[in-house]
Symmetry: C2
Subunit: 255 residues, 2 copies
């Protein structure tokens, strides 16, 4: 009833630059640097690892195109999806700051990524602090998503949880121009939604049905449409401020 990852790509080459540009007014020079950062890309096939747990990495990756998940599998096979990366997201935090990657990251669709050596980032720290700070902010934003995710699984009912999940995904897709006014393509299977939200697959199915029965959303194929944004937001205790730009303290755009 919902979705399965297809080979169709989701994303756009300018998502990363576009996201940072919302944070600080980029100078032409900075834009050039960013574009240059993204000049060498790599293709990753669906279901292949972008990062593998236990490996050592010296680069972060900008996800140019595609959808990927970071996850952990417990000894008995239970899986927890930790987060979902969309085009324009940075992959590898906090993995790359440890001796060995703590989690695997797998591409759900054929994807395009762009490696960014960490040494290069440290170079940015020096010479382009505003860019570095903007990247820094994107980590803060990711941490905020973690927090909301934690509230989801810790204290929200299945119905609230899925409502919140749909709204967050919708909002993130909209920010990068991959959602319509009120609808979007669901990039995840119900099994992945279950593993992200700490639910079982049958219960995800039942809960989605209830959201439809309550006329809060409609689902046709992979297309999810928010029918009553206010009611859904109220149900989920959702508000967008943790996803949208915001400010860089001490770093007002000088121009």
């Amino acid at each position: 009833m919902i979705a399965q990852p297809t080979t169709a790509r989701i994303g756009g080459a300018r998502a990363f630059t576009h996201k940072l540009a919302q944070l600080v007014t980029l100078t032409p020079e900075e834009i050039t640097i960013l574009e240059h950062l993204q000049s060498t890309t790599r293709m990753v096939r669906r279901n292949r690892d972008i990062l593998t747990v236990g490996q050592k990495y010296d680069s972060l990756f900008i996800l140019i195109d595609g959808v990927s998940i970071r996850y952990r599998i417990l000894h008995d096979g239970r899986r927890q999806v930790l987060n979902i990366s969309l085009p324009g997201d940075l992959i590898g935090f906090p993995n790359n700051f440890f001796e060995k990657a703590l989690y695997s990251v797998t591409a759900l669709t054929d994807s395009v990524i762009c490696p960014v050596p960490v040494s290069r980032l440290y170079g940015l720290l020096d010479r382009h602090p505003r860019l570095a700070a903007a990247i820094f902010w994107s980590f803060a934003c990711e941490a905020a998503m973690y927090a909301e995710h934690l509230i989801d699984v810790g204290r929200r009912s299945a119905l609230e949880r899925i409502a919140h999940f749909l709204l967050e995904l919708f909002t993130r897709l909209k920010i990068i121009g991959l959602a319509d006014e009120r609808s979007f393509q669901m990039p995840l299977t119900q099994e992945l939604i279950a593993d992200a939200l700490g639910l079982s697959v049958p219960h995800v199915s039942r809960t989605l049905r209830q959201l439809r029965d309550d006329e809060l959303v409609s689902i046709e194929g992979h297309m999810v449409t928010v029918k009553d944004m206010d009611a859904l937001s109220a149900l989920a205790d959702f508000e967008t401020s943790y996803l949208s730009p915001f400010r860089l303290p001490g770093l007002a755009a000088e121009n």
Copy 2:
């Protein structure tokens, strides 16, 4: 049976410097800078906010002494504790990177904090990149704790969850010198443990009893002793690598 926050302080004035020193070999100059950073401290009473949701902040805070929690309360009163800060931890990430603080942080014990203006941090970026990177790493470590926390509430049973929680707390306290070889003082009430792990208070109580009955831990007053580290770690799927220092890519200590 377990704990309640007392007025007794937990912590030590050098915890923050000490933690960073484990990351990079600090030069005397860098140590001086760090100590200078922590020169002006502030007292916060038990049950007072260190940060309040919705407020605007231009500083991070180093927690010198005491224990605090970051949390969110939903409209109907359910609470999710997002993380627990111990002496030496930085408070205010990611809160201070948004226009308004997303969550409140409350002191559980009388605490000593030290404000660090964000502009000061950006100054560090420039002139002392190794220090800045070490601080940066502490954010990565916090993100890793978020991830483990998410696995706790998403995919671990109550027993596994509490086992993991105890081990993480034990390990963190040990790193800052506030735990013995196999035991530590529990700084949280069962209600706080419940709200951190997405459980009810009675079930926390029952589950702790089971851990005692199974001879995995013993609890006497506030004192928690790990009786069988291996069994407890196996139960919880716990290993310390996400908590302990590790490496700063591209930033080997030059001396």
